[in-house]
Amino acid sequence: MGPRFSQTLEMWAFEPRREPRDTRPPVAALARTSLTVPFPQTDDRLLESLRARRPGAWLHFYDAFAPYVLSVLRKVMGPDRELEDLLQDVFARALEGIDRVRDAEKLKPWLRSLTVFTSRELLRRRKWRSWLPLGDADAEEDVIPYPTTTDALEERLLLRKVKAVLDALNVDDRLAFTLRHFEGLELTEVAETMKMSLSTAKRRIARAEAEFKRRAHADRDLRGCLAEGTEFAS
């Protein structure tokens, strides 16, 4: 095994030149090209590297899975100004809990589960804060960070309205509902992700659907979307 990198730093950083200078052209001039070689590790090897805390493995893990985690976060949370904090929290928890993952195939579902539970903590904390008699000083400020330029007004309104309905749901119901209908998971996957029985998952989804419909019917645009869905179904 060669010297550790920190040792090589000490060894080579300030060492005076011992050999005559090479007149060959610099290597970088010959071969400084951008490569498109994909990261070759399989999930098995990646998991092994993560558990061994190999340098670079965790950032590869982040690069490979962060877009998926962010996609799940967006669906369960909606547009939210704390998405970045949540994303970072999910990976910080992954760092702590990776030793519990035994099977590389479970890596993605495990990360999805971490994502959902991390979101649940934040949503519950917000609910509790909203019950405090002093209210939440930041509530007014916690607006949806809409893009300001090209996005259609209708889409922005839809996001705002759906988020408002989701915010009104029970937190666990909301998570089960969004995983089922927005993330498109099977019922068994919802139950597995939320660490609950299949019947509980079904019950929570059904309750959220009823509440979502009740609230959506009070809004013309959301009512229209629901009606389109019904027509499509029939």
Binding site: W12, G56, W58, L59, E155, H181, T230
Partner: protein, 401 residues
């Protein structure tokens, strides 16, 4: 299920158009990389026994922390802890540092004034009345920090940034080191400024420009000047009080933005080159060094980058300056000196965005110096850490793969 199909599809489509995805991924990656520092090496086995005990202790500490009644943050002036801090004025040629009990600090630059308006358990309200300050707020679960500068308010969660306010010209600058702030004020409504971005705003008439700071160092000569987006405000010199150095500083920047390096250096000399390097935000001093290098004034470039290393020691900026100093040493064919600077750049910020380039340039310099054995060690390290990096092919060539 299909009843929700349309609404789900539209919701997903609208979410997909949110434009902050790349930003969020980048920011969270940077924070995660910081967390990884020192973690992505195998832990000694004895920790496997000790960790649960530490975990229990930490859990007890967290419980105690949660149930303990919170007191407002303590504030003190560094070096004079007995003084009550309300108003702080930094001397013309020095700095004052205001420490908060949560570990946050405000480093008030020379000739600047700051007033503490109030402190709470979650943070503080601070007014920068004039001048510049470097702010480092420690991120906690519940933080609420607001920095006001004239009509502007900067909302902070956990971050490091440089804030400048000139009440005579109504000019505000917010330059981010890391994290996110939001700025309210004339012409701005909760404007987000994130890592490596710089906001310049003018109160009268209200206008603001957001710049993306930094550029790959392999194109340092022009990148930091030309890659900046064109400012909406083309005539920064129209602001009042032309005798103030800060206005002359804007002038060098304006010329630099136009690509006139020699003119920018003349303007910087008029404003006082040393004053600029010792008072401007980190990013500006780095750019000033780039301009000096482009104007064939390596001594000035070195002065600027050494100033960054002295003023912002231990930050990513110091590492960026080391990388640039390495390039400068290569300009004068002092390969040993270049090797020394590249090694410093890697050692100081091993996870920074500049690390692949610094490591690659280090390897390249060793090859130029004929120190092939050393270059092979660095090449192997490069491939281990940045298998798909821009110098990976060069590293393989060094290793003969």
């Amino acid at each position: 299920m299909s009843e929700f199909r349309t609404i789900g599809q539209r919701y997903e489509k609208a979410l997909g158009k949110q434009r902050d995805t790349r930003n969020i991924l980048t920011q969270a990656r940077a924070r995660f990389a910081e967390k990884l520092h020192g973690v992505d090496t195998p832990a000694p086995s004895r920790w496997r026994v000790a960790l649960p005990a530490f975990g229990l202790l930490a859990a007890a500490a967290v419980v105690a922390f949660l149930v303990w009644p919170e007191a407002p943050l303590g504030v003190s002036l560094r070096g004079q802890p007995q003084l009550a801090v309300d108003f702080v004025q930094a001397p013309a040629t020095g700095e004052e540092v205001v420490d908060f009990s949560d570990g946050s600090e405000v480093r008030l630059r020379g000739n600047s004034q700051l007033r503490i308006l109030g402190v709470t358990p979650e943070g503080a309200q601070v007014s920068l009345e004039r001048g510049a300050a470097h702010v480092a707020v420690v991120h906690r679960r519940a933080t609420k920090w607001v920095f006001s500068a004239g009509p502007y308010r900067v909302h902070v969660v956990g971050t490091q940034f440089e804030l400048q306010w000139n009440p005579e010209t109504g000019a505000l600058e917010v330059e981010m080191d890391e994290g996110i702030v939001e700025v309210d004020g004339p012409g701005l409504a909760r404007q987000r400024v994130t890592s490596r971005q710089k906001l310049e705003a003018f109160a009268q008439p209200a206008s603001a420009s957001l710049y993306l700071e930094g550029a790959p160092a392999d194109s340092i000569e022009t990148a930091s000047v030309t890659r900046r987006r064109p400012s909406a405000r083309k005539e920064p010199a129209t602001v009042a009080a032309p005798e103030k150095p800060v206005v002359l500083g804007a002038s060098w920047r304006y010329l630099a933005d136009k690509g006139d390096a020699v003119g920018a250096m003349n303007a910087a000399e008029q404003a006082g080159f040393a004053w600029l390097t010792n008072s401007m935000p980190r990013g500006d001093v780095l750019v000033l060094g780039d301009v000096a290098r482009k104007a064939k004034q390596p001594a000035r470039a070195m002065e600027a980058w050494l100033a960054v290393r002295a003023r912002f020691a231990g930050t990513v900026g110091a590492s960026e300056a080391a990388l640039r100093l390495g390039h400068l040493a290569e300009d004068r064919r002092d390969i040993d000196e270049a090797v020394r600077w590249y090694s410093e750049a890697v050692r100081e910020a091993p996870n920074a965005a500049t690390a692949p380039e610094a490591l690659g340039d280090w390897m390249d310099a060793l090859v130029r110096a004929g120190r092939t054995e050393n270059a092979r060690v660095i090449a192997a390290e490069y491939l281990k850490r940045f298998k798909n990096g821009p110098d990976a092919a060069a590293a393989r060539a060094v290793l003969g793969k």
